[in-house]
Symmetry: C2
Amino acid sequence: MTIIADHHVRGSWTEQAGAAVQLPPKALAWLNERVGETVPSAPIRSDAEVPGSLLTEAAAVELAGVVGERYVLRAPADRLARTGGLSYLDLLSRRLPGELPAPDAVVLPADPDEVQAVLEVCVRHDVGVVPFGGGTSVVGGVRALRGGKPAVIVLDLARLDRLVSVDPESRIAVLQAGVRAPHAEELLAEHGFTLGHVPQSFERATIGGFAATRSAGQASSGYGRFEDMVAGVRLATPAGPWRLGVAPASAAGPDLRQLAVGSEGTLGVITEVALRVRPRPVVERYHGYVLDGWERAQDVVRELAQNRILADVTRLSDEDETDGSLRLSGGWKAAVVRRYLRRRGVARPCLLVLGWHGGSPREIALRRVAVLRVLRRARAVSLGRAAGESWRHGRFAGPRQRDALLDHGICVETLETATTWSRLGELRAAVRSALAGALGDPLVLCHISHAYETGASLYFTVLTARDATDPVGQWQRAKEAACAAISSGSDRPLGTISHHHAVGTDHAPYLAAEIGELGMRVLAGAKDAVDPTGILNPGKLITR
Amino acid sequence: MTIIADHHVRGSWTEQAGAAVQLPPKALAWLNERVGETVPSAPIRSDAEVPGSLLTEAAAVELAGVVGERYVLRAPADRLARTGGLSYLDLLSRRLPGELPAPDAVVLPADPDEVQAVLEVCVRHDVGVVPFGGGTSVVGGVRALRGGKPAVIVLDLARLDRLVSVDPESRIAVLQAGVRAPHAEELLAEHGFTLGHVPQSFERATIGGFAATRSAGQASSGYGRFEDMVAGVRLATPAGPWRLGVAPASAAGPDLRQLAVGSEGTLGVITEVALRVRPRPVVERYHGYVLDGWERAQDVVRELAQNRILADVTRLSDEDETDGSLRLSGGWKAAVVRRYLRRRGVARPCLLVLGWHGGSPREIALRRVAVLRVLRRARAVSLGRAAGESWRHGRFAGPRQRDALLDHGICVETLETATTWSRLGELRAAVRSALAGALGDPLVLCHISHAYETGASLYFTVLTARDATDPVGQWQRAKEAACAAISSGSDRPLGTISHHHAVGTDHAPYLAAEIGELGMRVLAGAKDAVDPTGILNPGKLITR
């Protein structure tokens, strides 16, 4: 475990989580043709300015008394290493001149008791606390805001990295909040189990972060959203420790686990999560299909969801994403695929990737029967297992590819929402039109990656030439237009402001439209009970 | 629609919901042999004393201004008709001498707007409000407590009985809170849909009540618990109207729907619920099996749950319930079944009822394959479809049979809990031992009716000879002992204080052990936001 992160760890995804992904020259050429000429970006700065620490010596001494001196970090490099998340604007800020907002100190407690004791020190000194896991927020969730407090620390949970217990009979494992997803899978694999939670942030994100943000992984159709896995949760709060979760289901009042989950560090620091686990799959099988036209393709996913026969991974790209992905992958294969589909009479190809996990090939074959019946009726064209495996192989590459695109001068960002099936078409059109209005003629790729009986998510990837003079304002205007489109609607918003990225700072202005002013007051009332002085993640989610 | 309920509607289940169920003489003889001689009860009183109404004339006039004079009922008979629920002690109180607690008036609003306006009147006059649906609470949830207020009204939602809308594409139907379950099924059937929510209270309970109490139906393994069906909810609160629910899933902060659901009328009056519906099944197939010994039988249900191949109805009775049910059904068949099982070498028969709903016999046959494999390995003995159909036929009879048992002088009540699989044996033993300690040698029947990957529910039926001198104290002591056993445990309770009956007054003392003192304060904080003067269901769930 590296506890003193190197200066640049937050500068890009690449440096920590694997090799950089270069774009093939052909892909770049196509992109430039599509979005216009770009001006290559400045590289990530190595000489970032960090503001001085405002943490008082008295507070620092008390914090050191809890966690030990070596776990209270005040050097600029350490503070910079936990500055903000990984949104496009976060990445951009590390290339542009100007001071980077940074916490006044980084504190690394060893266990839940130390987390509790740190909060008590922070209450006494009125210091804000930003819980920090993998730092992969793309909505400003881990931005170290002081929110009116004289100082703010980042509470880095990296040392809470243990598997606490496994109950194989109940299939529940208790993991500490700082365990990163790949490490969680390693720890569980020793007992034959898996979480099956594989969001795109998998390589870096943590158990606590998943719970705090209601994460949803690529295999959510099979394994559920993260909150579906949460059997119990342990929190440290300024008002004292708090444990929730006794039974798989209960009628003992409202489900407060569902209040803790998604609270984004504002109602307590999640220190341990009891999670439903499943046996590790023996076989995984991925397959690619193509459907003709978004409407028909969407109907197929709806039928699978409503018949409750979704594959564990079910992912449908629209025409633009299908075409864009093929072209961005470069190579000769893309052209061959396009020709093949033309010959099969597919005018508007939409790629459907299905992935099954199972205990035996036979089990998967049985599950596929009902799905193949639906696909045949919809005249799906099979691209075979290679297309499925190709998606699986590259499924964590997105965040890494972004660095290459930024280098090249591309504005690239994602956003996501969800709604009921009957409003999905309207929602997709509204977001596309808002992005087009703000960005001219951007490339907008869209897919459904999470489907339910009553609706589905929409995930958009936006690419355009970066505005050389006002790159920040360029994206801010686009994001605001998209959020306004999502939040529009006569009696209720067209879609949720976030299906799995959470609220953070970026979505905060739109939350009241979704849960009502009354909902905002209810959250504030809950916060009064657990965090009366408001030290937890100041300026996020809950406003008072 | 009968809006002026007759005097006796609350006296027993029978009078409203169907014919009385008489016990066969042989069954009664066996019961007496088992629990001892009983003294027949006094019949339900027809001359109940009702306290005078404390509602001021000024408040009554304003309420009449909102709903119309004929929908503000102050006659003793009307108030008595909405007095309390249907627990054993509720039923007993209608047979014993003494004043019955009754609301000071009954108000019947026509729609959500009138509900909102009624609340505003009640805030002005500081009048408590008890939302009332089917009145089937068995935990004191609809007891009209004044809780420090000068007066309390029952808000009878019987007139909110409409299907508001159906979205067939998204499979969502919006139902008003006062729609009773059978009526909901009729309304949905016109559109080809069903909720599939069939708790034992089905004949009388309402949509609003299901949501307010986190109800779970007999087919919860297939259709989910009621909260799983809730796509959205509309509430009236003293702080204003409140709507929740935009998308099937969201990361826009905590899921406040899950705070409204289970709030038992303390955080708002639920006026409409948007519900996930499914196509009505074309085929239903029920089947009875017998397994030898509770431990093995429980393992079978666990395996089905963890392999995610549960039948839509999955219900496992323990040895005592299997034997007791056979004997209480009387007739010659019971003896034949016992003989048949003895011949097959089943020493400790546990009845497993499985029920499948589907679109075709083939679909059900396919689903059964995997289940039958598990059953064969566990040496299950099939009792055929007749045994399954027999359970289905009698599945709503329990509440009705209770009246006959009460007549006969039997103390009969149910209680339920849930926990993780690894603690289920300990929980069952603890509850049985607590009941035996309090009641001598009662007949305790137990079944699992709701199974999950990580655990299951336990439902107990207790029968004993009624104590002739202190029948109320007899059951109170038994209930307290059972609740104490459920709430015991070193770091967390052994089980949840309620899996699907809710908290009401009876479980209130045990809630803090489950959600923590901090959880109690969080609920109080939420209530401050929506009901600052505390008029909603005073004295229930949330204490301040």
